[in-house]
């Protein structure tokens, strides 16, 4: 059953169209992350799903029921806010039970639900405190408790981790994921952080300019980005995208970067039948940094010798876990992730192995993925 269906949803403020015909179907139990740069409309979409904002056109169904004209409190949803939005004058206990109090749930039931959630989130010792007496992580936990206690059809998270420091964010990320696995809730989670999207989601909706650019599982989004925007937005460092020409050689496609230059790079591809119609034309080639490695690296599952190029090194960034290298590939700059103990010298040339099986080809005009 679809827990949430969004049909041709649009939203405009005066002359500004912030959502342009959004269609999304979210299955029950899924952890869907809406990710995109700020201003892409993801938070507006979440607010419309919650009923805090009205769509200009289109329908929203929650659990099979059209809720366009249903009040937020009757939509069977719970929401966690970026600012936590804990009621400052109430204790943690009152914050969590306030919704039940509004719905006139009997006291005994309230107590039972509160005890349950407090145990699940390990916030029992905090119940008597005010939000001002809590740390950021504790507030986050209480905000989640307030959502969990409702046991709704749909959880909405609006950038809940962006106010936490980096270390705590990673901890809470794991905790939310574990929570999802444990209670099997349906979650729609908004973030601008593509790492949160990749690590937590069962499906990612990448948004840009009020449109869903791609809606797929994290592996697909990463491996086959639907267009150049998705390719450049997901992944850190992002995918290298370079202008190139597609040629044919011995019946197979070859990507030529910097064609005609003395240092042109020719990358022979296996497969990529869908690109046949682009042979002899300009394309944009996308290579993930981890697909460019030190010259003697063998990529797992690759048959035959890897493609090795000799390229000038411009800059080296050791991160500890790996070395990021800025190199020139046929005159275009590209980032490579190589083993941490290898430090090429800037200004000199070095050998790099390329995993050509994972190269993406894009149409330079439509910016869509060709193959």
């Amino acid at each position: 059953m679809a827990a949430l269906s969004i049909r041709t949803l649009s939203k405009r403020y005066a002359n500004l169209e912030v959502l342009k015909g959004i269609n999304l179907d979210i299955e029950s139990g899924e952890f869907t992350v809406l990710v995109g740069p700020s201003g892409c409309g993801k938070s507006t979409l979440l607010n419309i799903v919650a009923g805090l904002d009205r769509p200009s056109a289109g329908t929203i169904e929650i659990g099979g029921r059209v809720v366009n004209d249903v009040e937020p409190k009757d939509r069977d949803i719970a929401m966690v806010f970026q600012s936590y939005a804990l009621y400052p004058s109430m204790t943690v206990r009152q914050n969590i039970t306030f919704g039940m109090e509004c719905r006139h749930v009997p006291k005994a039931e309230q107590e039972a639900a509160l005890a349950n959630v407090a145990r699940l989130l390990q916030i029992e010792p905090l119940l008597g405190r005010k939000p001002s007496q809590l740390s950021g992580g504790q507030r986050q936990r209480v905000a989640m408790g307030r959502a969990l206690v409702r046991d709704p059809l749909l959880f909405l998270f609006d950038e809940p981790l962006s106010n936490l420091d980096a270390k705590l964010r990673v901890e809470m990320r794991m905790e939310i994921k574990r929570l999802h696995q444990r209670i099997g809730a349906t979650i729609v989670y908004v973030t601008h952080d593509q790492i949160e999207a990749m690590t937590m989601a069962t499906r990612i909706a990448v948004m840009h300019h009020g449109e869903v650019q791609q809606f797929a599982d994290p592996d697909t989004v990463y491996r086959y980005p639907a267009n150049l925007f998705v390719a450049r937005f997901m992944g850190s460092p992002p995918m290298n995208t370079m202008k190139a020409r597609l040629e044919a050689e011995d019946g197979g496609p070859v990507v030529v970067i910097g064609a005609g230059r003395p240092d042109e790079a020719r990358l022979r591809l296996q497969g990529y039948d869908a690109a046949a119609s682009f042979v002899g034309r300009d394309i944009v080639v996308g290579i993930r940094p981890e697909c460019i490695a030190e010259g003697n690296r063998g990529f797992s599952g690759a048959c035959g010798a890897p493609v090795v190029v000799n390229a000038p090194v411009e800059m080296v960034e050791p991160t500890g876990a790996e070395t990021i290298v800025l190199l020139r590939l046929g005159g275009e700059s590209a980032l490579a992730r190589i083993a941490p103990d290898i430090r090429p010298v800037p200004g000199e040339r070095a050998a790099f192995a390329l995993d050509t099986r994972r190269i993406c080809l894009f149409d330079p005009e439509t910016e869509r993925l060709i193959a």
Binding site: L52, P72, F81, Q82, A85, Y87, P88, M90, G99
Partner: protein
Amino acid sequence: MPGVVRRLPEHLTIWVPLLLSAAHLVSFSLWTIWISFTPSTLVPVSGWVGLRNYTAVMATRNWKIAFDNLLLFGSAFVLLSLVAGLVLAILLDQRIRGENALRSIFLYPLAVSFVVTGTVWSWLLNPGLGIQKLVQDLGWTSFRFDWLVDRDMAIWTIVIAAIWQSSGFAMALFLAGLRSVDADLVKAAQIDGAGPIRMYRRVILPTLWPITITVIVIQLQFAISTFDLVRALTNGGPGLATQLPALVVYDLMFQRGLLGRGAAAAVLMLLILLAVLLPYAAWRYLQRRRASHA
């Protein structure tokens, strides 16, 4: 040092007026305190009479009535202007049309001097001239609204005029407070299913209490020092029905020529004011200390 020289104009603009006004305030306050311990009558004289002026002033019926009136007027005025300001602010906060115009209208009385407010209300409340006359002329001949000349009710006419004058100010502060409530808080309460009354009572109004305290203190110190409003509206009458401490000071100093007693009454007013301001200052200090610790 070059920094100080470069910013000399700024320093001059701030420090010269500040020092001058502080010197005035402090020197005249000290002078008044000194006078209050002297046997001065028409002209200041030196000498020491201890607390005699104070006991004399506090023993007069005039002062007792003024003090009782201040208690009644102060609490009624502060409470009612608080409620009126809050209600206006909540109504204005409903994203209504013409909000700017209405806000200016409600705030405008603050720009009018108290003498003008007092005079206008003395006409409006005059039974033979204002509201009572109007309603009677419209046909309700038995209508009576003569609080201005009623010994028991006259103090309430001052309350009415003072509220008219300053509830707009309370409204402006409350409105600013309502507008600064975290929008997510309201959204969260909406999703929790709080209706408008519960929303205000449990979620929004509790965030306003620091503003409420500020409004109370400002209105209280206005109430304590009220002079021109009463002088123009009732001049303390009928009889002594609307006598207030500031009127007593004026009366003693400039009508009866009892400088020493007038000064003692003024110092007593200062003490009442301090009784309001010192706890407020202590509260602000604690707030700030807690904020810097958190």
